[in-house]
Symmetry: C2
Subunit: 443 residues, 2 copies
């Protein structure tokens, strides 16, 4: 048996010498899903949670950059030299589009926030890491997360070695009794629940949204129990109709219980890798100094990525400026596509699976990208591999969104990057797969 030193003498490492989470399924599920779509490029993909591509224009990048530079000069009074410095040099750790983000939150979400409480991050993924790293002070700190949980959250928690305690979703998005119960149980077992991660609007992967009453009760529980709520809201803008939009938790937050996690991946473009967080909680230090939680998180950021590229921030800023800081306005065409596609998908499922008694059911979200199908047989990556190879259709197994070992007979379909024709073909193929599996499981 070789030692560390021996291995390295051969220029070779073993995973046992590396961070244990590298063998954790949570860190591998993203890679697996990417890799299978590369292996089966001709399969219809109902797997990818990517935004629609048809409205991307390369020339828009230059237009957005120009628009942001004009804003720096005209609105903020920057000299040409200062504009160049802003784009090209190292910059403010908390970012340079915080004012525009605050304006956007006021306009689209009714959230009123001090721009100083905003940290612009390298995608929402970095925002999650920053918050978890700050909250994880010892092995007894734990995170609660509504299951099914976005894999990026689970992955970020692994990186800071913070346990994730599952909270049932129930039918309304979060089972609030179970939440209280999990907090109690965690404390009884010596853990310190610090926060609960939740995606109240058109959640990934479940598609479910919380009711207003549940939102208020969730906030009351958080305040009473002294835990933060990490509200992740990548899909909130994509309701099928305006009246289906609910106020965010942050808009209802009276006790600064909510850290709001924002993403421009779906509302601008993933390629900018720009997200942000709102952390307006005051923090007292041991010598009586006061700061915002955002300032503490920015210290972590300075040692992780220094600052978010001001060039990609400028692209986001330009897009915001072109649309009077409304992303609802900027995404009218995209929202129409998602609404149409989701209707086609749900109607297509109704035609192909008219009889719930056969055990194939699905939910009907009123926004977002995702529909979940529940089936009466096991669903795993082996089935996905077969689906790709023999049926030519890709989807996402729901087990990726649960703790390892949980068996989940469900799969997620995404309607965001497909044409109406691809939806029809994809659902035909899904129906063949599911019917074959139903027959096989009845034999």
């Amino acid at each position: 048996m070789s030692t560390t030193a021996d291995s390295l003498r051969l220029g070779q490492l073993h995973t046992a010498q590396l961070f244990g989470a590298l063998e954790d399924p949570a860190l591998n599920s993203m890679n697996f899903l990417n890799e299978i779509s590369h292996r089966y490029p001709d399969a219809v993909s109902l797997a990818a949670g990517r935004p629609v591509e048809q409205f991307f224009e390369t020339d828009a990048l230059q237009r957005y950059l120009r628009r942001f530079c004009q804003y720096l000069e005209a609105d903020l009074g920057y000299s040409e030299e200062e504009v160049r410095r802003t784009l090209f040099q190292y910059g403010r750790t908390k970012g340079v589009v915080h004012g525009l983000i605050a304006a956007n939150l006021a306009q689209d979400e009714g959230i009123s926030v001090d721009p100083e409480a905003i940290v612009v991050t390298v995608g929402c993924q970095e925002a999650m890491f920053l918050v978890l790293r700050a909250l994880r002070t010892s092995p007894s700190d734990a995170l609660l997360a509504v299951t099914p949980t976005y894999v990026g959250l689970t992955g970020a928690a692994r990186l800071v070695e913070m346990p994730v305690l599952p909270v049932a979703a129930g039918s309304g998005g979060v089972d609030l009794d179970d939440l209280e119960n999990q907090i109690r149980q965690a404390r009884a077992s010596g853990l310190r629940p610090r926060a609960c991660y939740v995606m109240p609007d058109f959640a990934n992967p479940s598609g479910v949204s919380m009711s207003l009453a549940d939102r208020r009760r969730l906030l009351a529980i958080a305040a009473a129990e002294g835990i933060l709520l990490l509200e992740d809201n990548p899909y909130g803008l994509f309701s099928h109709a305006d009246e289906q939009r609910q106020p965010t938790l942050k808009a209802l937050d009276e006790h600064r219980s909510v850290v709001y996690l924002g993403s421009f991946a779906k509302t601008a473009m993933p390629g900018v890798r720009v997200g942000y967080l709102v952390a307006d909680q005051p923090v007292l230090d041991s010598v009586g100094g006061r700061s915002l939680l955002a300032d503490q998180l920015s210290k972590i950021k300075s040692m992780l990525t220094v600052n978010t590229s001001p060039i990609t921030q400028a692209i986001v800023g330009g897009k915001l400026l072109e649309n009077d800081c409304s992303l609802l306005r900027a995404n009218e065409r995209e929202r129409a596509v998602y609404t149409r596609n989701m209707r086609l998908m749900v109607d297509g499922l109704a035609q192909r699976f008219p009889d719930p008694e056969r055990g194939v059911t699905y939910n009907v979200p009123v926004g977002g990208f995702f529909v979940v199908i529940t089936v009466p047989f096991g669903v795993d990556d082996a089935l996905l591999e077969r689906s790709a190879a023999e049926y030519g259709v890709l989807w996402t197994s729901m087990h990726h969104f649960y703790e390892p070992g949980v068996e989940v007979n469900a799969l997620r379909l995404s309607c965001s990057t497909v044409t109406p024709q691809q939806i029809e073909i994809g659902l035909d193929r899904m129906a063949r797969l599911i019917n074959d599996e139903l027959r096989a499981s009845q034999r």
Copy 2:
């Protein structure tokens, strides 16, 4: 005394409830240095380690983007749709300019590397974090680092709670006897030294470069002891003359002992936030699978920042393509500025401090951005504050680059973002400050 829950009921946190390193000087030194330069905007800054700004052109961004898109179409055979998808969508975790980076390393550094062993990162800072996160498997894993150490490395180590064991620099950049000694001592105290961080060329902050003989001996020690070398090389291109360039450790690496950390902050622009790492070490897993260390690090990256913005990668890629993948060629003008400025600075110091017997000495680097002045009195941030307010000159106290509590009578001057006139004025002010301090310390 309030509990966690009580505090949060008031919407308030205390730093005692947050990650301990947030009160660590290592996480605050960057912020302090930025903050003081904002408070004294009229002071001459010999503090900032930023690249020269006079060659930045906003229009170049569009040109670089176009050039990279042409390359995707003409050289890689991408369709227009695939080009758009590459720029706008989520992308390959390890990056999209890996081929161009490999070509650059071959051309400028004589390093031959499989592009698959490259991970493109959000600046070199993220590269450091990825490597340390992978190597930190338990509290007994430790990092060695040549002191004075770049604060970004110390900060990244804090984020993964990995102790940093200082290794003396000696006169040659790394005291190799002390390195062996530190490894031995660490093992005797139950620690497992995993890697040694070193900046062999024109180091930040010391300006010192290692000799070829020391490089070879350092590699031999790493191979014999089974530790990795983390070679950080942001300044290697900026030698005053070609004959002063030394081969990197990675170019000399015969046993895959070196993880190479690259930055485009100084050779392209900080605003892209693009760096990279080369990790060509093979990794065996417990079921006999083989990968590269780069693949393991990319799993961590997928949960930290998902991928580096393909838009800023494209900007770097376009700049590389415009210069036949040579950053030496791309930086001819910049290098001439740094060479001239460093000569002015060193000559200016010689004029103002001709007599080393007074206890004021400085080194004469043959490249890079930094000169270190050693003085016979204490240097700390209080002195810097006074220097800014009363003398109008900024510099960097060397104590930031040592473990907390170490007293260091030295300061770092940077020559990279100043004009010849600013150097003269800055040095006049430095001389007044130093002479006043000398007189005060003799009283």
